[in-house]
């Protein structure tokens, strides 16, 4: 019952999964959050004692600017304390915390999402003139030449990227699209940067091997494959790497 509620009721959990899920719940944090959202002043004081400094510290680290960090933290702070709705009932953002991870980690994630949302909403307001001033170009996509070896190479790369696993695509996206460092990716996956480096290296070798196999299957000779891969610059190909990496297989979801 508890596990089903916490998981959002989106999937059927096995008994072992229910035990694991309930066993991992941060009960103390969850109790504190519930007491705060219910308006318990003693709990709110305890919350402030524990989380006020980490909350503001995290906001500064996220925004890298003291004024913006304070503004972001103040905003969340008010939402955590809660507002009275039209029925006079106090509504706090802490109601959404379900104890799956630590409360401190949850606060950091909420801050990060608010920061990203705010940044995105502001960046959407940039005018076309500003984009042109900033050097953003707008051009029609070139027509694909579907006969040459470059086209076959593009097809092979796109097909190979599409068959990668989720974690492999996550690594590629983080490294090549987001330009994250090894250390940053490592932090996100709780892995050492040397492990990320090793996995990326293995992934590159695997991609190269599979692309070569596809090219061979498409009728290219060994020498032609070598020449194509040696001269390969994916930017010259008509492959939308970002879109290819976004492909998702439908899996049972826990998202709410």
């Amino acid at each position: 019952m508890v596990a089903s509620i916490v998981a959002g009721g989106a999937v059927e959990l096995s008994e072992a999964e229910q035990v694991a899920l309930v066993g991992n719940l941060r009960v103390a944090d969850l109790t504190l959050a519930r007491a705060c959202s219910a308006g318990n002043d003693f709990a709110w004081k305890a919350f402030l004692t524990r989380f006020r400094t980490p909350l503001y510290g995290a906001a500064y680290r996220i925004t890298k600017d003291e004024a913006t960090g304070r503004e972001l933290a103040d905003e969340l702070y008010a939402e955590l304390y809660g507002f009275n709705d039209r029925h006079g009932k106090r509504r706090s953002k802490l109601e959404y915390y379900t104890g799956r991870g630590s409360l401190e980690g949850w606060l950091r994630t909420v801050l990060s999402r608010q920061f990203v949302n705010r940044y995105r909403s502001r960046s959407r307001e940039v005018s076309l003139d500003e984009q042109l001033d900033a050097g953003v170009g707008f051009a029609a996509a070139p027509a694909a030449d579907e006969s040459g070896p470059d086209h076959r190479l593009g097809v092979a790369i796109a097909a190979t990227l599409a068959e990668l696993g989720a974690e492999e695509r996550f690594l590629l996206s983080s490294w090549y699209l987001d330009q994250r460092t090894l250390a940053e990716i490592g932090l996100q996956l709780s892995l050492h940067e040397s492990t990320i480096s090793r996995r990326l290296d293995q992934l590159r070798k695997k991609l190269r091997k599979r692309v070569r196999e596809r090219l061979r299957a498409a009728g290219l000779g060994l020498r032609e494959c070598d020449e194509l891969l040696a001269e390969l610059d994916v930017r010259d190909l008509n492959v939308n790497v970002a879109a290819t990496l976004k492909q998702e297989t439908r899996v049972e979801t826990f998202h709410k």
């Binding site: 990203v116 989720a166 998702e248 899996v251 826990f254």
Partner: protein, 254 residues
């Protein structure tokens, strides 16, 4: 496409970052993250905002260093203390910026790879400073020079500590497995080494609890990395990439 799945909420993302999701959930979230730059951005910011646990990799004293004169060792100690103090001061002055690891500071190789080198870089281990890395004294927030605990691994593979008086003492019996990595966070100290041996002290090395991690379906035998997000949640990794995770401060590993 990424839009096919709704964004995971803060609860799920936090649990993902802390390794607290069920395997099925983790796969589902990873699938979403692979295609959603917005959620990757949030995850990255969240990870960077965490006051990370200390991971200290100490380079064992090599045979060639035995030939060095004793005064060189003393000079190295001065450099180490100065670097640690510098790291500490920088960490206080530059709020939110990553601190430099003592190993990197001492060796002087803490340079970030140039962006232009990125496509070919994965094969090379980055020497970029790890966020939150610091010596034990920095981790405890103690600015006193005397009385701070220093840690090292000696040439025999034994973990040693010094209380700042220049005297090094082994903290485990001599017949213990060789230690390969030390992780320090405040008064919590973790040692990992050969034969999957993992030791933990929560009183700055005064008392220890040692155990052998359960073997997995791999040939892993040497622990190489220890990283704790907080006192409860951590990951230990062997040289071949095999991982063990804990969410209860090391009482159980999976």
């Amino acid at each position: 496409m990424a839009g096919a799945l709704p964004h995971p909420d803060e609860d799920v993302l936090t649990a993902f970052a802390e390794g607290a999701l069920l395997e099925r959930e983790r796969e589902s979230v990873m699938e979403h993250l692979a295609g959603c730059s917005e959620c990757r951005e949030i995850l990255s910011l969240t990870a960077a905002a965490a006051p990370e646990a200390t991971v200290l990799h100490v380079v064992p004293t090599g045979p060639t260093q035995k030939r060095w004169l004793p005064w060189l060792a003393a000079a190295a100690a001065v450099v180490l203390v100065s670097s640690a103090a510098l790291i500490y001061v920088r960490g206080r002055e530059i709020n939110g910026l990553p601190q430099q690891s003592p190993e990197i500071a001492v060796q002087g190789i803490g340079r970030r790879e140039p962006d232009s080198a990125r496509p070919d870089a994965p094969a090379v281990q980055s020497a970029e400073p790890m966020p939150g890395l610091a010596t034990s004294e920095a981790a405890t927030g103690n600015s006193e020079t005397v009385g701070r605990t220093h840690w090292r691994i000696n040439e025999a593979g034994h973990a040693e500590r010094s209380l700042g008086n220049g005297t090094w003492q082994a903290v485990l019996p001599n017949d213990s497995a060789r230690i390969r990595v030390i992780s320090v966070s405040g008064s919590d100290v973790w040692l990992g080494g050969e034969k999957l041996h993992l030791c933990h002290s929560n009183d700055d090395g005064a008392t220890w609890h040692c155990e052998q991690l359960p073997t997995k379906n791999s040939s892993a035998s040497v622990l190489a990395h220890i990283r704790f997000r907080d006192l409860q949640t951590g990951v230990v990794e062997a040289t071949d990439g095999t991982r063990w995770e804990t969410g209860d401060g090391g009482r159980t590993w999976r």
